[in-house]
C-alpha cells in the first residue's frame, strides 16, 4: 500500500469535488421542481395528463441512467432541429447534458416518493382544512404539502444517496469529476487500490454528510415527536 501516493492524490481528487457537488446540488434542485410538477400532474385527475406523467416515470425508472445520459449527450445531437435550436449551446456541453439527464432521472424517482407522501396525508386533515374555509390551493399549500414533505424525507434520503453515487456516471461523458479523475490517475499510475480507496472515501464522506443533513431536516420537521421539555 503506497500511502504517499494516496496522500498526494487527495488534492487532485478534491479538485473534482466541486464539479461533483455542482452536479449533485444542481440536479437535485432541478429534479425537485420536476418531481413536484410531475407528482401534481399524476394526481391531477385528468386521464391524459396522468398517463403522460406515468409514462415519463415508467421510462426513467425502467432504464439504466447510463442509457439516459448517452441518449441526451450523444442522441440529441443527431437531430438537425436541435442543433439549430437556441438550446444547442447548452446541449452541446457535457456538463449540461449530465445535469439534464440526472435531473430527469431523479425527477422521476422523487415524483413517486412525493406522490406516495401526498397520498398518505390523512384525508381527515384535508377535510378539516376545507371545513375551516380554506380553498383547495390554500389547504394544499398549508396542510398537505408540509405534511407530505415531512413524510417523504426518509425515502428522499435514499434518493439523495443514489444521486451522489449517480454523479460518477458523468465521468463517462468526459466530465472530470471525482470518478473521472480517479480513473485517469489509475490509468497513469496503475495504483488501483490506493486511488480507489481515496475516491471511495470521498463518496462515503459525501454520503455521510447527506444522510446527516436529511436526519437534521427530519428532526427539525418533527418537533412534536421530541420529548417535551
Amino acid at each position: 500500500m503506497n500511502w504517499q501516493l494516496m496522500w498526494d492524490s487527495l488534492p487532485r481528487m478534491l479538485g473534482g469535488l466541486s464539479l461533483t457537488l455542482q452536479l449533485i446540488v444542481g440536479s437535485l434542485a432541478l429534479g425537485a421542481l420536476v418531481a413536484f410538477a410531475v407528482a401534481l400532474l399524476r394526481l391531477s385527475g385528468n386521464r391524459v395528463v396522468e398517463t403522460l406523467a406515468a409514462a415519463y416515470v415508467f421510462v426513467f425508472r425502467g432504464t439504466p441512467l447510463l442509457v439516459q445520459i448517452f441518449l441526451v449527450y450523444y442522441g440529441l445531437g443527431q437531430f438537425e432541429f436541435i442543433r439549430d435550436s437556441i438550446l444547442w449551446p447548452f446541449l452541446r456541453e457535457p456538463y449540461w447534458c449530465a445535469i439534464l439527464a440526472l435531473t430527469l432521472n431523479t425527477g422521476a424517482y422523487t415524483s413517486e416518493v412525493l406522490r406516495g407522501a401526498i397520498l398518505s396525508v390523512p384525508s381527515g386533515q384535508v377535510e378539516a382544512a376545507r371545513a375551516c374555509g380554506m380553498s383547495r390551493a390554500l389547504a394544499f399549500r398549508r396542510i398537505v404539502l408540509p405534511v407530505a414533505i415531512r413524510q417523504m424525507l426518509p425515502a428522499y434520503g435514499n434518493e439523495v444517496i443514489l444521486m451522489v453515487k449517480a454523479t460518477s456516471l458523468a465521468s463517462t461523458i468526459t466530465l472530470m469529476e471525482v470518478t473521472g479523475i480517479a480513473r485517469r490517475m489509475i490509468a497513469q499510475t496503475f495504483a488501483v487500490f490506493e486511488l480507489f480507496i481515496v475516491a471511495g472515501a470521498i463518496y462515503l464522506v459525501l454520503n455521510f454528510i447527506a444522510t446527516r443533513l436529511i436526519k437534521f431536516a427530519e428532526w427539525r420537521l418533527t418537533p412534536y415527536l421530541r420529548a417535551r421539555a
Binding site: F58, V59, G62, T63, P64, L65, L66, V67, Q68, F70, L71, Y74, G75, L76, G77, Q78, F79, I161, V164, K165, A166, T167, S168, L169, S171, T172, T179, A182, R183, I186, F190, V192, F193, F196, A199, G200, Y203, L204, N207, F208
Partner: protein, 217 residues
C-alpha cells in the same frame, strides 16, 4: 445478442448476489462480533460508493488480486479474469450488499414462535432451515429482492465500460458506427424497459406463489 449477454450477466450477478447476501445476512445475524463488523463494513462501503467505482476497481485490479491469490496457492502464472467474470463479480458484489439487508430484514420478520414450534416437533436445525426458515424468509424477502433485481439489471449497463459485449456496449458501437445515436440508445432503452417490465411480472407471480399458504384477511 447484446440483450442475451445482459440477461446472462444480470442473472449470474443476481444469483451470486443472493449467495453473498445470504452469507452476509447470516454474518450480520450471528453472535460473533467480528462477523457482524465485517458484514457491516461490507454493506456500508459497497452501498455508499458509486457502482462505477466498484466496477473500475475489479476491472483494473481484479486480475492482479486473482493472480496473487493463485500465487498463494502455489500457482505462479498470471491469472486473467475475462470481462464476463469481472462483470458478474462486480455487479454481484453490489447486488449482494443490497440483498444482505433485504434478507436480514426478512429473516428477522419470521416469528420466533415458528422456529420454536418446529424445534418442539423435533426437527433438526437443517430441517428447520429448509422447511420453515427459508420458505418463510422468501415470502418476506421477495418484494425487496425484486427491487434488488431491478437495480442489478440496470447496473449491468455500467459493465459496458469494461468492453464486455452486452446490450449497452453493442449499442455504443452501433451508435458510433452509424451516426444515429438517438435511434440506437432509444432502442436500448426500450429493450431495458421490456426486461424490467417482464421481470416485474415474473416477480409478482413468484410473490403470489410464495404467499399461497397465507390466509387473506
Amino acid at each position: 445478442m447484446g440483450t442475451a449477454m445482459t440477461v446472462a450477466v444480470a442473472v449470474s450477478a443476481f444469483a451470486f448476489g443472493i449467495l453473498v447476501g445470504s452469507l452476509g445476512a447470516s454474518a450480520k445475524l450471528s453472535h460473533s462480533l467480528a462477523l457482524n463488523v465485517v458484514a457491516d463494513v461490507y454493506t456500508t462501503i459497497v452501498r455508499g460508493i458509486p457502482e462505477l467505482l466498484v466496477i473500475y476497481l475489479l476491472f483494473f485490479g481484479g486480475s492482479g488480486v486473482a493472480t496473487s491469490i493463485a500465487a498463494a496457492f502455489g500457482y505462479d502464472g498470471r491469472v486473467d479474469l475475462n470481462a464476463f467474470t469481472i462483470g458478474v463479480l462486480a455487479v454481484g458484489l453490489i447486488s449482494g450488499a443490497y440483498s444482505t439487508e433485504v434478507i436480514r430484514g426478512a429473516v428477522q420478520s419470521v416469528p420466533f414462535g415458528q422456529i420454536e414450534a418446529a424445534r418442539a416437533c423435533g426437527m433438526s436445525r437443517w430441517l428447520i432451515l429448509r422447511r420453515v426458515l427459508v420458505p418463510q424468509t422468501l415470502r418476506f424477502a421477495l418484494p425487496g429482492l425484486g427491487n434488488v433485481w431491478q437495480l442489478t439489471l440496470k447496473d449491468t449497463a455500467l459493465v459496458s465500460v469494461t468492453a464486455l459485449a452486452e446490450l449497452m456496449r453493442i449499442t455504443h458501437l452501433a451508435a458510433g458506427a452509424t451516426r444515429q445515436p438517438f435511434l440506437f440508445y432509444g432502442t436500448a432503452a426500450l429493450l431495458y424497459l421490456m426486461l424490467t417490465t417482464v421481470s416485474t411480472a415474473l416477480f409478482n407471480r413468484a410473490e403470489i406463489s410464495a404467499n399461497r399458504g397465507v390466509r387473506r384477511a
